[in-house]
Amino acid sequence: MEKKVRFNSCWLPWLLIAPQMCVVLVFFFWPAGRAIYQSVLNEDAFGTSTEFVGLENFTRLFNDATYLQSFQTTAIFSLLVAVCGLTLALLLAVMADRVLRGAGVYKTLLIWPYAVASAVAGVVWLFMFASPMGVVAYTLRALGMNWNHLLDPADAMALIVMAAVWKQISYNFLFFLAGLQSIPRSLIEAAAIDGASPWYRFRTIVFPLLSPTTFFLLVINVVYAFFDTFAIVDAATHGGPGKATSILVYKVYYDGFKAMDLGGSAAQSVILMLIVVTLTVVQFKFVERKVQY
């Protein structure tokens, strides 16, 4: 089946993608270029004195043990957010797909969190877990568990992972649901008639057919965890206790906006950009092979 549209004109395709290219240039390439430029400068807060320092901002970062440690923190955080976010969303999507009555209500409720700003998501979860008044913290204590994200690194990490996953779950859910609904019913019904159990049908038919969606969401979620979560960290833990939840992007935000160290902050965003570009390339090279379109 040939679906491709063919253009005979040589300028029309360019014209059609021009608006999108403008957006990408202005909102991605220009700021990215500025970040690279700024990362080799040392400036005072007001920009009254600027000096070219070469790679000094970078060497300083790599001599800082706490910075290197935050790579590990970021890896753990991103992995947890991506894995938990995708698993939960897939589970919810499969459930919602089977619901016959009131499906609209379920779907609306599940999509709702997407409209919540990151900082608000962080605060909402912080309230629930704030000891001793928070609802969840109170329940946990009644069950004999002592929750204290202010001093326990594992609790703090769990808190920001939960907030970050919750914030992203609607997005994942939407794509999974759309993916599920595009799977031909006849395939599943045929398998059911042949006696395949629901789990077997999911594993051998649904999941493989969902793989393009899953792959797309994996990339999106990793990028989300790397870039879009600083507001959650800032609202919920400030990177503490110690540096237990100080992920890379939070340090970019902190150094740039709280500490006014624009050069150092820009150098970190350049590093972060390289990491995400590398990760995305790796994902496309290795994971995409397993994807069946």
Binding site: D44, F46, T48, T66, G240, P241, V252, A259, D261, S265
Partner: protein, 440 residues
């Protein structure tokens, strides 16, 4: 990448805001960016309104810009875009940054002199004005709202625990005693603190006449280095760590997170800002008291004086001479004894001038509101080279480093000495960078 986008957006937004607010009337508008929300925001608006009513040439326009660091970030973005406000409120830890940004600011003393407005630096409370004065004696910013560290306690909880509510603990030994008794009476949070670095290390140092950093705590030069890992500091943090282990000191988070749990009655005693007074008075459902910061009785020279917090007003550069005249008149208005006394009594911030302090004393305000004079008497003392104030570069980062290193101490994972050593080492790296950046 991210922050450049946001900077750009902020700059764009500010440009449009600037275009929209072009003055149409003959009055000269003076933009004042501040970080005073809630009741304090009303106070700021009233100040502007009152000043605007006294004359017709100038109009002060106060603009709320969020928290202290948000206001500063916004002003920096605006300055870079050529749209800085005339007056900017900057918190005390941002002072060294502002002082180093010579091209961005206009010293207050100069603004007053050029405008021909009478100005006497000696009229201001020395411990406060001294902090905002350059080593050459020139006053750089206007000491608008200064607070200091005090000890707040819950009188009702004291009664329940069998403690005398009119006899607050004066020393750390007495604080430990009171904590144990409160704990025994079933109190879940006997003692907590806001601003760990400010109350437990900075003010702690000057209160005991010990250095927090060399070079007169950075007041004498930018080559200062941190010294808060001395035996006295280690002893104090060990003491707090022991209290934490016994559940007598409960850590409630960074910044002023502990304020809310004291006001709600969850914690019985706390060290924090004197500026919390208004909040407690309005919102607490228990009788509360203010006392001086606790000290160690065996340390010679203690108690000395505490250090200031709060913020000051900076005048930004690149404005018209006429506009600076308006700024100068506004500052003169704020400094009149009546106006300054009114502000002091309303907010709990320190009095701006000595005359306003005397006026408040004469009016009997301190007698009617016991405890409101604690902050003042802690500050209006003869200071020493070690207690004049603490002014360090990259101070925002240093405070965060202290929070980061001390949190594992409160959970018992790291020894106090090791944590303080690590904080000093990391903090000194910040000071070295600041020195390097500002001596080129």
């Amino acid at each position: 990448m991210k922050q450049s986008t946001s900077n750009m957006t902020a700059a764009l937004a500010l440009t449009f805001a600037g275009l929209l607010s072009q003055p149409v009337q003959a009055q000269t508008e003076i933009q004042w960016w501040h970080a005073m929300g809630g009741a304090l925001g009303e106070w700021v608006n009233d100040l502007a309104k009152d000043f605007n009513a006294t004359q017709t040439a100038y109009k002060i326009v106060p603009v709320f810009k969020g928290s202290y660091d948000e206001a500063m970030t916004a002003a920096i973005a605006a300055f870079r875009a050529g749209n800085a406000p005339h007056i900017l409120q900057v918190f005390e830890v941002g002072t060294a940054t502002m002082m180093a940004s010579k091209g961005a600011i206009q010293p207050v003393a100069e603004v007053m002199k050029t405008a021909g407005v009478a100005f006497n630096p000696a009229a201001y409370v020395p411990a406060v004005a001294g902090y905002y004065t350059a080593p050459n004696g020139e006053m750089l910013s206007f000491p608008f709202n200064s607070s200091t560290t005090v000890f707040h306690y819950n009188k009702d909880a004291f009664k329940t625990a069998g403690l005398d509510p009119e006899k607050p603990p004066k020393t750390w030994a007495e604080v430990a005693d009171a904590s144990a008794k409160l704990k025994a009476s079933g109190h879940a949070c006997p003692f907590t603190t806001s601003w760990v670095s400010w109350t437990q290390l900075e003010s702690f140092s000057t209160w005991h006449n010990n250095e927090f950093a060399t070079k007169g705590n950075g007041m004498d030069g930018i080559d200062a280095r941190l010294t808060f890992n001395s035996p006295l500091h280690v002893r104090h943090i060990e003491n707090l760590a022991n209290m934490a282990k016994k559940g007598e000191f409960v850590y409630k988070g960074r910044g002023n997170a502990a304020d809310a749990v004291f006001v709600s009655g969850e914690c019985a005693m706390m060290t924090g800002s004197s500026g919390l007074y208004g909040n407690i008075k309005r919102n607490a459902k228990f009788a509360s008291g203010i006392s001086t910061l606790p000290y160690y009785a065996d340390v010679q020279g203690a108690p000395q004086n505490t250090v200031i917090g709060g913020a000051s007003l900076w005048v930004m550069s690149g404005k018209k001479a006429d506009e600076y005249k308006g700024v100068a008149q506004f500052f003169a208005f704020l400094s009149t004894p009546e106006q300054a006394a009114k502000s002091h009594q309303l907010t709990g911030y320190l009095p701006l001038t000595l005359a306003s302090f005397e006026l408040t004393e004469k009016s009997g305000f301190y007698k009617e509101n016991p405890g409101t004079d604690v902050a003042v008497t802690q500050m209006i003392r003869k200071t020493t080279d070690k207690s004049r104030g603490i002014r360090l570069g990259n101070f925002v980062q240093i405070r965060t480093i202290i929070d980061e290193e001390l949190e594992p101490v409160w959970s018992g994972k790291v020894a106090p000495k090791a944590a303080l050593d690590a904080a000093v080492k990391r903090g000194n790296e910040q000071l070295e960078r600041f020195q390097k950046a500002n001596s080129r």
